[in-house]
């Protein structure tokens, strides 16, 4: 069991968090850039020292302000995958994965055996002698995970594990990561800015705002009872509580307030929650000819620039059910989007995430 109760201050930024997580579970910290996610991971890893509080994993106390105790990173049972992975560029894949084992002076035979097992587990045996700079993003990710897990840590720290991957790789790695994490005996703390990732990975989700957790709960709790407008906004605007009314060909029809949605059949269970990321929704002035199963017509209700850069616009559409889409400024202009203009909003069944 991880218990972390930390206070830390850096310039004007203050972090104050009190979180706990059980072994075999994943705690996701979700928040925007600058909300303190990475700072929290660094405190857990021992790379930075909190000003107050206590951090303990099981009966090992890593930090306790009261007794002035602080355990250096190399003496904590952690596996850390930083956002940029930080693989050692001069070492081979094999040497990267075996780094921690070598550093803790395990016998050669043990190192070889465990590294071989990890390489096989992550499907990178063929890359063993390559340098990290010569392999793909997804492969690098596996190397970093292998390095982090080599010493069977009690706490695995993942900082935006998909941020460095391109989109297709990211989709594949998500499934792989989910299978991996569900089989790990350790506590996993996973940091992301992407609410969808948080919902997909978190047994427990903490929403971070300005260094504080404004809501901590499981997926249902967050989705059904967002405690603040910020959380609701952050988790996505298209959330529908509904009931499966028909199934077929792997597609389920979900009746919800205001309309029926076609989504990927979640299997068991009829009470579902459907979330559609605003970016999954395609807008057009003509009825779309493509294969999207969900097509809704409605008038543009409101256009709001998406902070911070304002490069994208959020478009609220008075369809049944009401939807919020996100488009680039350029495409909004080329379509002539303005309040009152009638548009078609469409998304694929795979564009919706279904929670039971």
């Amino acid at each position: 069991m991880l218990t972390a109760d930390v206070r830390s201050r850096r310039g004007a930024f203050a972090l104050e968090l009190s979180l706990a997580a059980e072994p075999r579970s994943t705690l996701v910290l979700v928040g925007e850039n600058g909300s303190g996610k990475t700072s929290f991971l660094r405190l857990l890893a021992g790379l930075d020292r909190p000003e107050g509080g206590r951090i303990a994993l099981g009966d090992r106390v890593w930090f306790d302000a009261a007794s002035h105790s602080f355990v250096e990173p190399e003496h904590r049972s952690i596996g850390y995958v930083p956002q940029d992975l930080a693989l050692f560029p001069h070492l081979s894949v094999r040497e990267n994965v075996g780094f921690g084992l070598r550093a803790s002076k395990r016998p050669d035979a043990e190192v070889r055996e465990r590294v071989d097992a990890l390489l096989a587990r992550f499907g990178i045996t063929a890359l063993a002698d390559r340098k990290p700079g010569t392999i793909s993003g997804g492969e690098r990710q596996r190397v970093a995970l292998g390095r982090a897990l080599a010493l069977e840590p009690g706490l695995l720290l993942l900082d935006e594990p998909f941020a460095s991957l391109d989109l297709p790789t990211r989709r594949g790695m998500r499934g792989e990561m989910r299978r991996l994490l569900s089989g790990l005996p350790c506590v996993t703390v996973f940091v992301t800015h992407d609410p969808m990732e948080a919902l997909a990975f978190g047994d427990q989700i903490a929403v971070l705002e300005d260094g504080r957790a404004t809501q901590v709960g499981d997926r249902d709790d967050l989705l059904r009872h967002p405690r603040s407008a910020y959380v609701a906004e952050f988790l996505g605007l298209n959330r529908f509580v509904g009931r499966v009314v028909a199934r077929g060909d792997g597609v389920a029809q979900v009746a919800c307030d205001g309309g029926t949605l076609s989504v990927v059949d979640p299997g068991e269970g009829d009470d579902v929650l459907v979330v559609v990321a605003p970016r999954e929704i395609v807008l057009s002035r003509e009825r779309p000819a493509g294969s999207a199963l969900n097509v809704f017509e409605g008038a543009v209700d409101e256009l709001t620039p998406e902070p911070p850069a304002g490069e994208r616009l959020r478009v609220r559409i008075a369809s049944q059910p009401p939807l919020v889409a996100e488009v680039t400024r350029a495409s909004a202009e080329s379509m002539g989007l303005a309040p009152g203009v009638a548009v078609f909003a469409s998304f694929k069944a795979t564009g919706a995430t279904v929670f039971r």
Partner: protein, 281 residues
């Protein structure tokens, strides 16, 4: 009549600015190159080889190589830890230490030699304690090494510090979270990645040691076979035997060029490598 389709060709205007730049550059390059050319063409290759066989030359060459290697090793062994501290830690009086380390670069070498004499000379601050241990620095080969190390140290320490600083901190953090002690992270991550910087620093230090004259002659004197390095031998030969001085100089020039090539090649090779590492398939 003006036709928008075919504007008249603009008169070839050679800018005054460009001419001025080119002239200045050519003058300076000539200033740098001409003396070297004059030196090399002064003596026929056959004569050069004959001159290099003289005992004066052989002694000076032997001594120069010995002291340069020894001074460079001394600077590397003692300078690497200092560079590491300067790069990685916040030391008390960091600025003062940095100024102290850089000082020999700007100090007139004769002043450095005199200062060494005041410290390690027979009547100097530490000279007496040293001689109690049977160690004499002034006017000995050991003194030459100390003088060269004194003058060469900043070149190595600054380059090595830059080398250490060029290594991404996040790699060191990754090493520590993977159970590496400070010394393991140093040996396995920091040192290999900073090596090109350390190599460049060592080459610069060696070049400085090889060319050192002022501090050596002031602190260690000019005794053939004992403290008379090549630059000193050139100076001495100049007063009696111009041809020998030229021969020695050509030899020094060759060694300097070789060092410089090594110096340029090392970081280039490294950059080529790291580019290859960053390449994504």
């Amino acid at each position: 009549m003006t036709s928008p389709a075919a504007p008249p060709a603009a008169p070839a205007r050679v800018s005054l600015f460009r001419i001025a730049i080119a002239i200045a550059a050519v003058i300076l390059l000539a200033l740098l190159a001409l003396p070297l050319v004059a030196l090399v063409v002064r003596i026929p290759p056959g004569d050069l080889i004959a001159r290099l066989g003289q005992p004066l030359v052989i002694d000076a060459l032997r001594l120069s190589l010995l002291t340069t290697v020894a001074a460079t090793l001394l600077v590397v062994v003692l300078g690497t830890p200092l560079a590491y501290l300067l790069a990685m830690k916040r030391l008390p009086g960091q600025r003062a230490i940095e100024i102290l380390v850089m000082l020999p670069m700007v100090l007139p070498p004769t002043v450095a030699g005199l200062a060494l004499l005041m410290a390690f000379g027979r009547m100097g601050m530490l000279g007496r304690s040293l001689s109690a241990f049977g160690i004499t620095l002034p006017f000995t080969t050991l003194g030459v090494i100390v003088a060269e190390a004194f003058m060469a140290a900043p070149f190595y320490v600054l380059a090595a510090r830059a080398g250490f600083l060029s290594v991404d901190r996040r790699l060191l953090e990754a090493a520590r979270t993977a159970r590496a002690s400070e010394s393991y992270a140093f040996r396995r991550v920091l040192l290999p990645l900073a090596l090109p910087g350390l190599g460049a620093g060592a080459a610069m230090a060696a070049a400085r040691a090889l060319g050192e004259f002022g501090a050596t002659i002031t602190f260690a004197g000019n005794l053939q076979g004992v403290t008379q390095t090549m630059p000193l031998a050139v100076y001495l030969a100049l007063q009696s035997d111009l041809e020998a001085a030229v021969a020695l100089s050509v030899l020094l020039l060759a060694v300097s060029v070789a060092l410089l090539i090594a110096l340029r090649a090392a970081p280039l090779a490294w950059m080529g490598n790291s580019n290859a590492d960053r390449r994504r398939p």
